[in-house]
């Protein structure tokens, strides 16, 4: 049993066949994986810096009931349920036109509700914040799973999809056509839009995010409204999570949020460098992930996360500053010097 569990490694099957025989298929999966990991990684860098990694975990779970409610409302509003067999004819159905909007609104609502409930429990009772996070996201997630089971005909999600996504199905959907030319699968286009938006917002508000993440006091003295920055980041997070949700599932999104940032922060102390590392990791992860999944015949999204985790492991062991190998040698580390970019900003103001 166990010997047949891990398939034999066949170079041609694993590395050549996917691109030779199914190249058109896998290019979109790789692109989708890269876009998801890039967007998640960029937002995740800030989550890690702000010690909000578990808020990312919470939101990625609690987006589910928002999505489910969004779908149910949309289906009731559009009158009637869609059947998978008729997708082709239904591609211009109002359900499909308005689906992204319903998803987006549902996710934003769920994200806001999560933040609000956590604050409520944590501020009004003596229950600590960690317990509050655990209670809120598990409740909402349970609610979401029940909604999907009860309204299976109205929600385009199933239990497996919730757990590990359906990234393999991305290129199977009818391509979006503009002016008669079919461009790309709709999910890829949407994810590309979200990723570009994330990059745009981060580069526009780079200074605000940076300062308020590292030095809230300096941020306040520069007139940056910390609450606005916080909720803005939460909104981007909800947006990224909900777009990645269908392809990667609730829990793997957490990995894509945290792994690139965690790996990058082991390799560099400078935020721009960390972001570049995150993007490099996104590219390696998505391509090697596909090959791993082809070799092992397992879920592609999960395999991408496993590759990401291996990269983290490598960074952890061989990192020049504080890696496990480095720990074996005596060394000194200067922890007190503030970050150069913060110093620069402090001097400017």
């Amino acid at each position: 049993m166990i010997d047949s569990f891990i398939p034999d490694f066949d170079f041609v099957r694993v590395f050549v066949e996917p691109w030779r025989d199914h190249g058109r298929h896998f290019i979109w999966i790789a692109l989708m994986g890269f876009l998801i990991t890039t967007a998640c990684g960029l937002v995740g860098n800030y989550l890690i810096l702000r010690r909000m990694a578990l808020v990312g975990d919470a939101i990625s779970h609690s987006v589910l009931p928002g999505l489910a409610v969004g779908f149910i409302v949309l289906n009731i509003w559009a009158g009637g349920s869609s059947h998978d067999g008729e997708i082709q004819s239904l591609s211009h159905h109002p359900v499909h036109t308005w689906k992204p909007l319903a998803m987006f609104l549902g996710a934003l609502g769920a994200g806001a509700l999560t933040t609000l409930l956590i604050e409520l429990i944590h501020k009004k009772t003596r229950v600590k914040q960690d317990s509050a996070i655990g209670i809120v996201f598990s409740t909402l997630f349970a609610l979401g799973v029940i909604l999907i089971c009860l309204f299976a005909d109205k929600v385009d999600l199933d239990q497996e999809c919730v757990l590990y996504g359906e990234i393999a199905f991305v290129p199977l959907k009818p391509f979006t056509t503009w002016f008669g030319v079919s461009i790309a699968p709709p999910d890829v286009i949407r994810m590309a839009g979200i990723t570009l938006l994330t990059i745009l917002l981060i580069s526009l508000f780079y200074k605000e995010l940076l300062v308020s993440s590292f030095d809230p006091a300096l941020a306040a003295s520069m007139g940056i409204n910390a609450t606005v920055v916080h909720y803005g980041l939460m909104a981007i997070l909800s947006l990224v999570v909900v777009s990645a949700f269908e392809s990667a599932g609730a829990i793997l999104v957490v990995a894509m949020l945290i792994l690139p940032g965690a790996t990058a922060s082991l390799l560099s102390q400078r935020l721009p460098t960390m972001m570049c590392f995150s993007m490099v990791q996104a590219a390696i992860t998505s391509i090697l992930g596909i090959h791993l999944a082809v070799w092992l015949r397992c879920s592609i999204a999960a395999a991408m996360v496993v590759v990401g985790a291996l990269l983290f492991l490598l960074a952890w062991i061989f990192n020049s500053q504080a890696g496990l190998l480095q720990r074996l040698k005596p060394h000194t580390r200067d922890q007190t010097s503030p970050r150069p970019e913060i110093q620069q900003l402090a001097q400017q103001t």
Binding site: R51, A142, I258
Partner: protein, 475 residues
């Protein structure tokens, strides 16, 4: 109870064979305990409720709730390996695999926080998602295997109480008994290491060992709950009933019992509801059941509930309001050197910078509490003995505190009023006596005004309600 349920002869079919029956019939079936798989599901839910409640209490008071989350996700690869051991749902193999994987997860979290600059929350999220991804890879690989009975593995994700069999129950019962026994034997040690780790270390408890022991028991609790609740939501069965119990009591002993009871109730409720609707996953319903318990505790808990706190705060605000009005009356009387006892509403309103209506409303409140009596068709008010006592003690608190701040804390006299405004309502009798003694029974506050003495406060009460006139003359 286990024996009793097991003795009832098995005559009904499996849950999965029930198709279209009414909810009433289903409920009847559930409570008649005739169905053997139903009995197993019920016993399983009770056992998991007890274990999760007990172990959850410890992680909630230790602020390690999310460590429970990490551990519960980290067991998935272990479950898959245990499943692979002989391709069936062998409960012992799964128990061993899941426990090892869960413990490995907690150890990796510890290693990452110790050896890198990543914080614990990042480490938890990282381990949680990575282990889960490895698990998902293995689960999907198992599902693609050409041979073998692979039907059971997906039930571990969202839980299906109906999949619990007699061997599972045996393992669950043994583990539950072990967990309960260990908690009883090491109760004192767990108590100390949970609430005062520094003290525990100073008296020589091996805190590290207790941490790992607790993680082992936690892994047991997770494994027990796996089958019915599923990997994804197990952490909720740990955290939520325990957090509800945490709001209901202040004693760890009571909290443990309450959390176990709540966990049991949520488990049975979840099993029942998922049985009513065919083929619904059990885990989410159990989680919603415990969330319901938490919601009720959140609102109505006797001491820590939101409702109780709100009422408490409201009554405190009203008391402070009354005390401020009484103080203003005292100031009015003091300004005319206590000639005449009648305070006009108009004077009070001027003193408090309010409209006459507002002042009137406040005096009505005072009258309701028996602190003043109304005169001149409601336009004048007179202290009752109780009211006079309250007014004197508030003014006394205020002025003593101001004096204390200027003489002992060396604050400027014009900086102390704000602070005294707040503290005057909460100083207790003993503290005030202590203050008075420390200030050598001073009679004047920093602004040169008299501080009412204990005699002034007690006087009218001793003289009775008829002897009101002239109570302030001594000042």
């Amino acid at each position: 109870m286990l024996l009793l349920i097991a003795c009832i002869p098995a005559e009904a079919a499996k849950i999965s064979e029930i198709s279209e029956t009414s909810i009433g019939d289903q409920a009847l079936r559930f409570f008649s305990f005739r169905d053997p798989s139903l009995r197993y599901a019920l016993i399983g839910s009770i056992l998991l409720g007890i274990t999760c409640g007990l172990m959850g209490s410890f992680i909630v008071v230790r602020k390690m709730a999310l460590m429970g989350d990490a551990l519960s996700h980290a067991v998935l690869p272990g479950v898959a390996l245990g499943f692979l051991w002989n391709t069936t749902k062998d409960p012992v193999a799964i128990l061993v695999g899941a426990t090892v994987a869960g413990l490995l997860g907690t150890i990796v979290v510890g290693l990452i926080t110790q050896t890198t600059r990543l914080k614990e929350d990042t480490a938890i999220g990282l381990v949680l998602a990575t282990f889960f991804a490895v698990g998902i890879c293995m689960v999907t690989m198992i599902q693609h295997l050409p041979t073998g009975n692979k039907s059971g593995i997906d039930k571990f994700l969202f839980g299906q109480a109906a999949a619990i069999g007699p061997e599972d129950i045996r393992v669950m019962a043994v583990v539950t008994v072990v967990v309960i026994a260990l908690v009883i034997v090491f109760y004192k040690e767990f108590l100390v290491t949970s609430f005062d780790p520094a003290f525990a270390r100073s008296v020589g408890f091996p805190a590290g060992w207790f941490h790992h022991g607790l993680m082992l028991l936690l892994a047991f609790a997770v494994v027990i709950a796996l089958q019915a609740v599923g990997v994804v939501l197990v952490s909720a069965m740990l955290i939520t009933p325990a957090a509800a119990a945490y709001l209901l009591t202040d004693r760890l002993r009571h909290m443990l019992i309450l959390a176990a009871l709540l966990g049991m109730a949520a488990g049975v409720l979840g099993a029942f509801i998922s049985f009513l609707g065919n083929n619904l996953p059990t885990g989410p319903f159990m989680v919603l059941g415990s969330s319901l318990a938490f919601g009720l505790a959140f609102l109505f808990a006797p001491r820590h509930g939101v409702l109780r706190r709100w009422l408490h705060e409201r009554s405190r605000d009203h008391r402070i309001q009354r005390e401020n009005t009484l103080k203003a009356m005292y100031h009015v009387l003091e300004a005319r050197e206590f000639r005449g006892e009648n305070v006009a509403i108009r004077e009070l309103a001027e003193r408090r910078h309010e409209t006459a209506e507002e002042a009137k409303e406040e005096t009505t409140q005072l009258q309701k509490h028996g602190l003043v009596t109304l005169h001149d068709d409601g336009n004048g008010i007179v202290f009752t003995p109780d009211g006079w006592q309250r007014a004197c003690s508030i003014v006394r608190n205020h002025r003593l505190w101001e004096l204390y701040l200027t003489s002992e804390a060396h604050l400027a006299a014009d900086h102390v009023h704000e602070d005294a405004e707040k503290i005057e309502h909460v100083l207790g009798e003993e503290v005030v006596m202590e203050l008075e003694k420390g200030l050598r029974y001073a009679t004047k506050d920093p602004h040169g005004r008299s501080i009412p003495s204990l005699q002034d406060i007690r006087r009218p009460a001793q003289e009775g309600p008829g002897e009101l006139i002239g109570y302030g003359r001594k000042l």
